[in-house]
Structures are given as C-alpha cells and as structure tokens.
C-alpha cells in the first residue's frame, strides 16, 4: 500500500464509501478503466483490487470463516420444501379407503469441500430419519424437530477421469425413481471412471460407476443364517452419453447395470416403506436411458423421453422364499417405466417450467422396495400407474411443484406387506426454496 499515491488512496476511499464492501468485487472493470485512463498504474490497480477484496472478506461472513488450510473451496447449499399432500389408499380386500391430508416440510443443508491434492469431503443434514424421505410432518404443539446426518463422505480424485468416494454419499448412479428413490444416500464405497470417447460431437463419454453398499452391519454373534450376516449390495453400471444435433445440444443416454445383493435380513423400520421379508434375493439387471431433443420449439426448450427397466434374475426366490407368497401367484420379476417430459429452460431461472408424465409397472419380485420411490404407491410393489408432475420457477431460486400419482394393483389378493395395496392416489403441492 505504501507504493500507492495519495490520489489512489483517495479513489480507494471513494470506492469504499460509494460502493460498500459487499460490492468491492464488482469494481474490477472500474479499476481497469482507471488504468486505461492513466489515473493509476497496473501495480496500484492490483493493490487496490487486493484491498477491496480484503475489505470484502473482512466485512462479510466470508472473512470470518476460519477454514483449514487444506480447504481450497467450501460450498454451502441447501433447500427448504413446504409440502401439502392429499392421499388416499385402499388395501386389497378392504372395504374402506384411507384418506389423509398431510402438511410436511423438508430441510436440507449441505457442505461440500474441495481439499488440496485431489481430496474432498462433505456432509448433508436433513429432517426425517428415513433413508427414503427427508419429510417431517408438522406435529402437535409447535414441537421442534430433529436434524439427521444424511451424508458424510470423503473423496479422492486420482485423475480427472477417476474418483473414489467413501462414507455416506449422493447416489452416483444414472437412474430413475423406479429403482432408486431420489432421497436415498447410499453408504459404503463408490468408484467412478469416465472415458471420453469423442465421437462426432467430440464430447461423447462412457462412464463406469460402481458401489459397494452396506445395507446393514449386523452383530454376527447374534444369529445364524440370513439374520446373522451383514447385508451388502454391489451395483455396477456403464453410462454411455452421446450428443447430436445443432451445437451438439441434444443427447442420448443408455445405462445398463447390474445389482447384486447378499442374502441377509435388514431392519428398515425407519424407512417410509419398511421391508417385510426374511432374505434378500435382488440380483437385478437395470437399463435406464433417455433421448433428449434440445431447442425443439425455440432456444431453451427440450423434449425428453426417458425409460427404465429392471429384471430380477432371482425374483422367484425373493417372492416365494423371502416374501413367503404362495406359488400360485406369479413371481412377476419385471418392472418398467416410460415417460415423456417437456422443459422450458434448465429449471434454474425465473420463468423456467417443465411437465413430465410417466407410466410404470412394478412386479412384486422385480425391484428392491428398500430403495425404490417411496411416493409411488407409497413404496409398494405389485403396482401399475402413472405419475404426472410439473414445476415452475417463480424466481431463480424458488419453484412451485406439483405431482400426482395414481396406481392400481397388478395381481389381486396378493396379501403381502410389500404388495397388498389395491389402489392409491397421492397429490403433492410443493414450494421449494433453494439457497
């Protein structure tokens, strides 16, 4: 600073007074103009910029955070969702329909850090202890609510193409909510390798994703058989993405995968849809994908068709051995989904909107009810039906969303806890504010 002229100091003072520290970072073009006019030289301009940034970090929360020196970037983010839900359901063989209106909220707070030498770490806090839902219903007496640790992970990026993650982390797989509920954060290990293929677009990719997921860590001394074994899920997936069309903005994605489960028993009483079975026979082939046409009705618009398919090669064991369902019923080892969506914008700016409609059928033996969407048919299997959803961004950071689910049973009189719903409807109206 001692190199700076009186004139420069006066200018700096004027900047502080006029613009305020919070706007200090925006003054770079103005300083550059002063350099061009010959009022300050380059060195003085650099010192001035540094002083303004120092003032910014001193006078805002940024300057008061004491971060470890290994942290090169620390991002805080989150969202709050207010939801009104109307729901009806009727069990197989029941004469009455259960109806409920629920007012709920979900709060999520995330911290993601980039550390030096390719390392990273992060956490997420949220309401709701269930793995497949962060919702918290408003209960009586203005009670306060608990916050749970939804994610806690470390990562190591070996190269730009290869990253390892361990702990409880964001779902790394390309999927739909038919197989994986969007709220679930798997726990265990995850590896991702990305290969740039180039192709006509120059940016086509083939990614290999794998995870070794701990579904339950039991005390082996407390029981033999399936109940005394740790429960693991091993998931592998290849994701091929190719781009085409004008500016290569349209895309096609196909992601074949295979999921293996060890035969064991897990306690999921915390889940929205508690698992009811005495073993896990989920060796599932999956094949989600999408075809996305960009700019179909002007810049920023897109039309997407998407699908998912799942086939449980050990579905018979799951249905007859684990669920104990009579062999007169079909094992029904297939689940599938087809959908179409129209978007204006990316959903990140005021005025962006989107509409989606999908139809799906879930066989009783097809997928793992512990991880499938807890909203479609309340997480039940043996269901078919559709989901219609829409969203509108009222600001860049706030949106109004609506979703309607309608389902009916596939096989009647199945009478098992994971597949005994006769029909259901859910209407969800949300206000989501992101920060």
């Amino acid at each position: 600073m001692n190199r700076m002229t009186t004139k420069t100091l006066a200018l700096a003072g004027a900047f502080f007074a006029a613009a305020g520290a919070a706007l200090a970072q925006d003054n770079a073009p103005l300083i550059d103009l002063l350099v061009q006019k010959g009022i300050v030289n380059d060195q003085e301009a650099e010192e001035l910029k540094a002083e303004l940034v120092k003032s910014f970090v001193h006078n805002t929360s940024a300057g008061k955070l004491n971060l470890g020196s290994a942290v090169t970037e620390f991002k805080l983010s989150g969202d709050l969702r207010l939801r009104h839900q109307e729901e009806t359901k009727q069990g197989q063989g029941k004469l009455t329909t259960d109806e409920q209106r629920r007012d709920r909220f979900r709060f999520r707070f995330n911290g993601d850090m980039l550390l030096q030498k390719g390392w990273g770490a992060g956490f997420a806090l949220e309401t709701g202890s269930a793995a497949d839902s962060g919702n918290q219903s408003f209960v009586s007496g203005n009670d306060d609510y608990s916050i749970y640790l939804a994610r806690a992970y470390v990562s190591y990026r070996y190269s730009k193409d290869l990253i390892f993650v361990g702990g409880k982390f964001k779902n790394p797989f390309y999927t739909t909510d038919m197989v994986w509920d969007g709220d679930i954060n798997p726990q265990g290990l995850n590896e991702n390798y990305s290969l740039t293929l180039g192709g006509k677009s120059g940016k086509d990719t083939l990614e290999f994703r794998a995870a070794q997921i701990i579904m339950a860590d039991v005390n082996e001394s407390k029981g033999g058989g399936a109940a005394g074994r740790d429960s693991h899920q091993f998931v592998q997936q290849a994701v091929y993405t190719t781009y085409f069309g004008e500016l290569n903005a349209s895309s096609f994605v196909i992601a074949p995968g295979f999921m293996l489960s060890t035969n064991s028993v897990i306690g999921t009483t915390g889940n929205e849809t508690p698992f009811a079975g005495n073993g896990r026979y989920f060796n599932i082939i999956t094949l989600p994908g999408e075809l996305n046409f960009a700019n179909i009705a002007g810049e920023g618009t897109s039309l997407k068709t998407y699908w998912d398919f799942a086939y449980n090669t050990t579905g018979k064991d799951q249905v007859y051995k684990s669920y104990g369902i009579a062999s007169t019923y079909k094992a029904d080892r297939t689940a599938w989904l087809v959908g179409i969506g129209y978007n204006f914008g990316s959903g990140k700016q005021q005025g962006d909107y989107g509409v989606k409609l999908d139809y799906r059928e879930l066989g009783i033996g097809a997928i793992d009810p512990n991880i499938s969407d807890s909203d479609f048919a309340f997480g039940n299997l043996n269901q078919k039906g559709f989901k219609l959803s829409a969203s509108y961004n009222v600001t860049d950071f706030a949106s109004l969303n609506a979703a309607y689910f309608y389902t009916t049973d596939k096989q009647q009189t199945l009478s098992h806890a994971n597949g005994s719903l006769d029909h259901s409807q859910i209407l969800q109206l949300d206000l989501v504010v992101k920060f």
Binding site: E46, F56, K160
Partner: protein, 269 residues
C-alpha cells in the same frame, strides 16, 4: 561446561543465520519453470550466502504456501481468489500482490496446421467443445485435440476467464502438467491446439495463431491490445522483509527485468 555452552550457542547462531539466508518460493509453473530459477541463479551469484528452495507446482500451491507460512514468496500467474483471501484473512495473513512481469498466453497449433488465424469467439468455441472439428474454422477435416494446463494451474483458470467467457473446458480436453508438455503434445499432433506463455512460443513444431488479428508481443501485451495478456505475481504476507525483500527488489530492478525479457516475458516497464 562454559565452553560447551558457548559452542552450542555459537552453533545455534550459525544455524539460524544459515536458515535466514534461505528463500522459499512456491507456486506457478509459468514463473517457476524458467524465470524464477534464473533470477535466483543471478541473485545467488551476487549473494553467495543465499540459498533457494523453489517448487513450481501451480499458482494455487503458491498462494496456499504464503497463507500457511511455508513460503516467503508465492508465485502466481493469476490473482488470488476471494476464498483464498478469506482463508488468508482468517489466519491473519495480509496477501500482497506484486506484478513482476507480464505474459501473453499464445494460442498454438501444430506447425503443419493450415489454420492462419482465429477469432476470440472461435477460440472460445474450440476450448469449450462447441466446435470439435477443424473444418468448422477453415482447417482440414479432423477432430480437434485440446491441450490445457491442469486444474491447480493459474493459467488454467486465467484461460477460462480471458478466453472462455468463464465457461467449462470441453470434457475431451487433456490436462498437461506444464507449458512445455502442452507445446510438446501440440508439436506431435497435427490436430492439436493449446495455449502457452510467451516463454514457450519458440518451442519446436508449433506455431502461434493470431487472435482477432493480434499476436502476443511485448508491445501488444503492454498496450493490452492482445486479448490474452495478463500480469504475473509474487504474493507475500504483507511487505516482504529480509532476504525475500532484497530478492523482490532485485526482481524489479533493471537487472532482474532484463532476465524477465531474456526468458520471453514482458518487463513491467
């Protein structure tokens, strides 16, 4: 016993004196590959008692080292980010930038490439992946191979700022450890394109492409007519003191700035 104490005290004084003569400099590969080692060599020739520890692993490491107190001087080819200034502030470190030279980041292609000129827009489209074939910018048909610096490099982020409208690099871009590696890869690949500092434009097998009609020269960089010109910095914790201050003064002196020009950077005056 008194003799022993005197010996120990003398030894401690000698050790501390020796340590005081060591200048630790970390950071930018752009500065640390050639310029700073040559400055250090010349400075050491004039000051035989001084030793240097120089580590050139990217601007981020230099700024972090000043914040951590593990280097007296941090070399950087970019300005410190707000998050870095914040981290420094939290540790009571006052980051002080000092322009030591100017650099022009040259767009280079293989010497056999027919590309004679590019516009700023075309450069942005190439490095972001909007354009993937040379035929789209007047070259022979062939997939463009993009070579960039790695993510800890100040040049990597400076290029995004200056040439890419802050957009992300094309996913197909290949990250190189330094300027020399980029020049070497482009020299081997007829479809290659990359960017290097002025000190590397005369590497064999490559050719500099004018952008918006301008090539990086001393005049175009100083007059800021070349679009990809930038200052390069030494960062210190407040005003440098001791031997580090003397080395900085040498760097800014006529003798130091002659070395700056010798390695094809642009002197500050």
């Amino acid at each position: 016993m008194n003799k022993l104490l005197a010996f120990v005290a003398a030894a401690l004084v000698a050790v501390s004196a020796a340590q005081a003569q060591k200048i630790v400099i970390k950071g930018s590969d752009t500065l640390g590959a050639k310029l700073v080692p040559m400055l250090a060599e010349e400075y050491r020739a004039q000051n035989p008692g001084v030793s240097f520890e120089i580590a050139a692993e990217g601007s981020t490491t230099g700024i972090t080292a000043v914040i951590d107190g593990t280097a007296q001087i941090g070399m950087s080819s970019r300005r410190a980010k707000t998050t870095e200034m914040s981290a420094a502030s939290a540790k009571g470190v006052s980051m002080k930038p000092l322009i030591v030279a100017y650099d022009g980041m040259a767009v280079i292609v293989n010497e056999n490439s027919p590309i004679k000129a590019l516009t700023k827009k075309q450069v942005e489209q190439i490095f972001t992946g909007d354009i993937t074939d040379w035929s789209a910018v007047g070259g022979n048909p062939g997939r463009i191979s993009i070579y960039t610096r790695n993510t800890s490099s100040g040049t990597y982020s400076d290029w995004k700022e200056l040439a890419m409208n802050r957009r992300d690099y094309a996913s197909s871009s290949q990250k190189m450890a330094g300027n020399e590696q980029i020049a070497a890869e482009v020299a081997k690949n007829a479809n290659g394109i990359g960017y290097v500092g002025l000190a590397y434009v005369s590497a064999p097998g490559i050719r500099v492409v004018p952008v918006n009609g301008a090539v990086p020269t001393k005049e175009s960089v100083l007059s800021k007519k070349y679009p990809y010109a930038r200052p390069t910095f030494f960062y210190t914790n407040g005003e440098a003191t001791g031997e580090a201050a003397k080395f900085i003064a040498f760097t800014l002196s006529d003798a130091g700035q002659k070395i700056v020009e010798k390695v094809h950077f642009v002197a500050i005056r």
